[in-house]
Each structure stands twice: as structure tokens, then as C-alpha cells.
């Protein structure tokens, strides 16, 4: 079977075409804002403008005609309202015009589910780290439960804001990572675990304050920021592993590109005798293939959406979805 998935919860418009076990096309275009930040209306304009050209390119690249697609899938949330609405409207029009079934997918669940496509993992604990989201999720009792999440900003957002304060441009992730590699001295920063959850605004404010004091090398600050923030991510992931007794860990989301975070998470997983896997980056960052792949599984498990049920869900909770597929 062939699924066509449209991702558009935030600044990235992604069109993915997949079968049960293969990505046929995975094309995306991210709205670049020079200073970062969240721009719902601009994201909606960006998605509306690029939807048709990207859809055409994806079909061409996959060697598939729209008539051959078996199910239209779209990112139903969580995300930016205006952006979600553009994608949902396009998905409805495709489904109605070509008489195809339609399925709405939870963005965070898709991030973890797509790790099963090429990874030898069946039932992993997922650490999903991106610009806007940071959560540890795993299947328990027929739903993806949230074992820990950020109480304020996503780790990617914190890194980007820190980079902006340093004046080294957006997105900040790769740049902070490079700086951190040249870090030598660890500088005390507030720990980012708060109860079962995470909080990055404290560590962000403190590292910016220290930077402005001019008393520290920015390489050391970048290094210390990563060590402290990533240690918190590893701790919450480890707790979920212990709690669920699972033996697989996947790292997903744009921040999964960070090698230090991979290293720390891998070390923890190996200590616990658990497998560690990171999907190819094109399936880590926001993309349409993860939406198509997850939607196809849901479709094959008998899940159907009436058009009236394809309303967007800006605050779509991960544990709202009954997981009846495997």
C-alpha cells in the first residue's frame, strides 16, 4: 500500500510518500526566519505557497500518481493553528477530490513510530527533542504515555535562543555543538530536571547571564550548557526505561543531530543493556514520511476518519491516541 503524508505543524512543510517498509519520497521546505522565534501566520503562508509544488515533486520522485495513493495522511497536531489548518484543508481536498480515505496523525507519536521503519526496534522508549517539543514517551496500556516533558520551552528553542544571544545566528544547534567541542572548563549551571519533568528556561537565563558577565569563554559556556541540559534528558529517559522495563531507546527530533547527546544517551542505554537507535536525520527532523508511515499503520489497523473528524488539534496530547496498531 502507498500513503501520502503531509507534515505542517510548525515551520516545516513536509510531503512524504511511503509503503509499509520503504520511503518513496520525503521532501521538505523549512521557513527560515533570520532571528528564529515562532511565526504562525508566516508558516501558514509558507505552507500554502509551497504545497502544490512540493506535492508534485514528491509524486514525481516516488514515481507515483495521486490516483495510486491508498490513504491521505496529515499532521493533526500539536502545533501552530494557522499552519495546521492549511495542511488539514489541503489533505481534505485531496481526499475528497480523489476519493481517498484520510487519517490524522499525532506529530509526536509519528516521530517515534518512524524509528521502526528502518530501525531494528519494536517497542522503544522515545526521547523526542526538537525546537518546540521535548518529551520522553513510550507505549504503556495501549497509549503513548508521557514520562517526562518540558514545562516551559523545548530544548531546541533554548539552544537557539542561547545562540541568538551569542549572536551566532539561527538555527543555533549545530553552532553551539561546534563551540562546545572546544570547551574545556565545566561551569556550574542550574540542573534542568524538575520533579518528573524538565525545565530549560532556568539554565538558559543563567548561561546568558554568565555570558553577559564577560567572565567566561563562550566555548566553555556552550560545553557546560550541553553537558547540563543533556544530562537531564538522559536522566528522564533512563527513568522511563526503568519504569517501563523496555530495552530499546530511540532519539528523534531535530536535536537528535547532536553527537554529544547521542553519545551520552548511547552510554546510558548500554549501561542498562538496552538497544540505542537514531533514525536517519531526514526522518528525525520534521518530515512528511513519518506522517505517511504512521498513518498507513493506523489505516491498516482499521482506523478511519470521517471528514468532520479531521479538525486540527493545536494542543493534541500524546496520550490522547489509542494505539491499536503495532
Amino acid at each position: 500500500m502507498i500513503a501520502l503524508g503531509i507534515e505542517g505543524t510548525a515551520h516545516t512543510l513536509g510531503i512524504g510518500i511511503t509503503t509499509e517498509d520503504k520511503v518513496l519520497a520525503n521532501i521538505f521546505d523549512t521557513l527560515t526566519t533570520e532571528k528564529g522565534g515562532i511565526h504562525p501566520k508566516e508558516a501558514a503562508e509558507h505552507h500554502a505557497k509551497l504545497l502544490k509544488p512540493l506535492l508534485r515533486r514528491a509524486l514525481q520522485e516516488a514515481g507515483v500518481k495521486i490516483e495510486d495513493v491508498n490513504v491521505i495522511v496529515f499532521s493533526q497536531g500539536p502545533g501552530l493553528g494557522p499552519a495546521l489548518r492549511v495542511v488539514a484543508t489541503a489533505a481534505r481536498a485531496l481526499a475528497l477530490r480523489y476519493s481517498k480515505p484520510i487519517v490524522g496523525v499525532n506529530h509526536c507519536i509519528a516521530h517515534v513510530e518512524v524509528s521502526k521503519l528502518y530501525g531494528d526496534v519494536r517497542d522503544p522508549v522515545g526521547l523526542y527533542v526538537s525546537g518546540g517539543n521535548t518529551q520522553v514517551i513510550a507505549l504503556k496500556g495501549g497509549r503513548y504515555r508521557v514520562f517526562g516533558e518540558t514545562l516551559d520551552i523545548g530544548i531546541g528553542n533554548a539552544i537557539d535562543t542561547f545562540a541568538r544571544e551569542l549572536g551566532i545566528g539561527f538555527p543555533g544547534g549545530p553552532k553551539i555543538e561546534k563551540l562546545a567541542q572546544k570547551g574545556e572548563k565545566y561551569i556550574e549551571l542550574p540542573y534542568a530536571v524538575k520533579g518528573m519533568d524538565l525545565s530549560f528556561s532556568g539554565i538558559l537565563t543563567e548561561v546568558v547571564r554568565k555570558y553577559k558577565s564577560g567572565k567566561y569563554r563562550i566555548e566553555d559556556l556552550a560545553y557546560s550548557f550541553q553537558e547540563t541540559a543533556f544530562a537531564a534528558l538522559v536522566e528522564v529517559t533512563e527513568r522511563a526505561l526503568a519504569h517501563t522495563g523496555k530495552d530499546e531507546v530511540v532519539l528523534v527530533g531535530g536535536v537528535a543531530a547532536n553527537n554529544r547527546l547521542r553519545e551520552m544517551l548511547k552510554a546510558m542505554a548500554e549501561d542498562r543493556g538496552a538497544k540505542f537507535y537514531v533514525p536517519p536525520y531526514d526522518l528525525c527532523r520534521d518530515n512528511g514520511a513519518m506522517i505517511a508511515y504512521t498513518g498507513l499503520k493506523m489505516f491498516k489497523a482499521g482506523i478511519r476518519f470521517k471528514i468532520e473528524e479531521t479538525t486540527v488539534k493545536q494542543k493534541f496530547r500524546t496520550d490522547e491516541v489509542e494505539v491499536t496498531w503495532s
Binding site: 505552507h47 500554502a48 502544490k52 489548518r85 488539514a88 484543508t89 475528497l96 479538525t311 486540527v312
Partner: protein
């Protein structure tokens, strides 16, 4: 900033009744669920035409709403005409 209430109507003619129907059914879901933002709208399908009637509290309320509706209609048309 004194208010200047605006009311009006936009009518779009589509190449066929089928296309108008697909666009209408795609957009009506958003029309029904978008949170009220100081503009009241009414969407109607009449053969090949979609009518949007609106009353807005003021200029900026109308601009926001019109931009959203025209954006949805555009993207539905793009999908139909793939």
C-alpha cells in the same frame, strides 16, 4: 482607535460544481471550528460558486479573517488541480 465596522461579501466562481463542492467541504470544517476573532462569517455553496458573507468589528479583524479564508480556498484549489 474608533471602530469602523465592515460588512461585505465575496463570491468565487469555480471551474465546475464538483470542484466548488470539494473546496467548500474542505474549508467549511475550518469555518466551523476556527475560534471567533471579531469577524462573523457565513460560507455558502451555490452551484459553481462559494459565497463568503462577513461582518467584522474593524479593518484588522477583517484582514485576518479574509487572509485565512482565501488561503484555505487557495490550498484546496491547488490540491484539486494537482
Amino acid at each position: 482607535m474608533k471602530k469602523a465596522p465592515i460588512q461585505g461579501m465575496i463570491e468565487i466562481e469555480f471551474p465546475s460544481e464538483d470542484i466548488a463542492k470539494v473546496v467548500y467541504e474542505s474549508v467549511i470544517i475550518e469555518d466551523r471550528t476556527v475560534p471567533y476573532r471579531r469577524t462573523k462569517t457565513k460560507l455558502e455553496l451555490e452551484g459553481k460558486k462559494i459565497r463568503i458573507e462577513f461582518t467584522a468589528e474593524d479593518n484588522s479583524a477583517l484582514r485576518g479573517t479574509l487572509n485565512s479564508y482565501l488561503r484555505w480556498i487557495k490550498v484546496a484549489m491547488d490540491a484539486v488541480e494537482l
